[in-house]
Point group: C2
Chain length 221, copies 2
């Protein structure tokens, strides 16, 4: 029986980050839907799990946690022996972990802000019947392009962002990157030779394909 519970819809980028991590680590989990259109993420019970009223929230037999990247780190620490060693090998030492952490932070601080805005504008606003903001789209495409230029130089010398192994630093880009490609902006990856190769490799991993399948499966009623 799964002792891990994730609260939130797989369509959420932050929820899908945690799901991809759990699948890579071969950890069973239960997904509990949170109907954000009904404001369930702002209910008093949910706020006990996630004080900001955001998704995901995470719970196991030891703790409850929020913030997708913190949850992923915990999963990697707790299940260090299982699945892909996403945060460095067990006993790999602080340097090995830090080389992953610096690119995971680059994702959170440099890739995420412009790509989140683009995902909202291009993927979520149309679904929610909200008008798009062409100036915000143009501005953030420019910002994201500059970030990906740095990635392209890095990925010329390295198979993955942190080195020869797929890590949490790569995985963390999948949720926003996926929506960008679905929204017809895949060119931002494809037009950069090394980013294109990297994106093709990480986005076709079986773990991520499973997450996309979950996103495309209507929730049980």
């Amino acid at each position: 029986m799964a002792t891990v519970t994730v609260y939130g819809p797989p369509l959420s980028t932050a929820v899908s980050r945690v799901l991809a991590c759990l699948i890579e680590k071969d950890v069973d989990f239960k997904l509990v839907s949170v109907d954000m259109s009904k404001g369930q993420h702002k209910s008093p019970d949910f706020l006990k799990l996630q004080p900001f009223g955001q998704v995901p929230a995470f719970q196991d037999e030891h703790t409850s946690l929020f913030e997708s990247r913190a949850i992923c780190r915990y999963i990697c620490d707790k299940y260090a022996d299982r699945g892909q060693s996403l945060l460095g090998r067990k006993g790999g030492g602080p340097v090995e972990r830090a080389r992953i952490e610096q690119w995971l932070e680059a994702e959170g601080q440099s890739f995420n802000p412009p790509s989140s805005t683009l995902v909202f504008q291009l993927a979520f606003a149309p679904r929610m019947g909200l008008p798009q903001d062409p100036a915000a789209i143009e501005l953030n495409e420019g910002k994201l392009g500059k970030v990906l230029d740095v990635y392209d130089r890095r990925l010329e010398e390295s198979r993955f962002l942190a080195g020869d192994e797929f890590s949490l630093a790569d995985l963390s880009h999948l949720p926003n990157g996926h929506y960008l490609t679905v929204a017809g902006k895949g060119e931002i990856f494809a037009s950069r030779k090394n980013v294109a190769r990297w994106w093709e490799e990480i986005s076709t991993r079986p773990s991520w394909k499973k997450v996309v399948e979950m996103q495309n499966t209507p929730p049980a009623s």
Copy 2:
């Protein structure tokens, strides 16, 4: 002799985050100035250390690193036995670390975006002779206030964000928080009872006072 080198001006919020961490961990370091007004952070040599052309960069006998929060985690992992245990006690296990990580991520993802914009608008734009954007200031004061409302509820039940001990999650708020108070916006902390107590306690730690002293000392010519 210090084996740790930090590149960048202490006036930078990200540099000062790393300095506060090193002082808390009682680690000797050498600070190498990077004259950003002369574009030194975009020089080919510096880009080898920090591919995005930002500060700080970090170097010791084992590695070079970028991204202030990743550098801080590395310092905590490498010097686990020394100074304040900012990322959980050695052998404290994954839950203890994760409870800190979730609030460190809250800082990076929720507190940092609006507070960075405010710091730029209120502290740096005037120094650089740039016009301020009143709409951006108002918008981000509102966003930051909502984040601090969540903090105030958390700090009603807990001395520090992650529990009874000062941690990296608290420390990481000092650089932006400091500039907000210097720019006359201290009310955003002071008007919230528990946040006010917390801010007073963390911002008067000897480590942070030393960093502010470094910020106020003109660089040696």
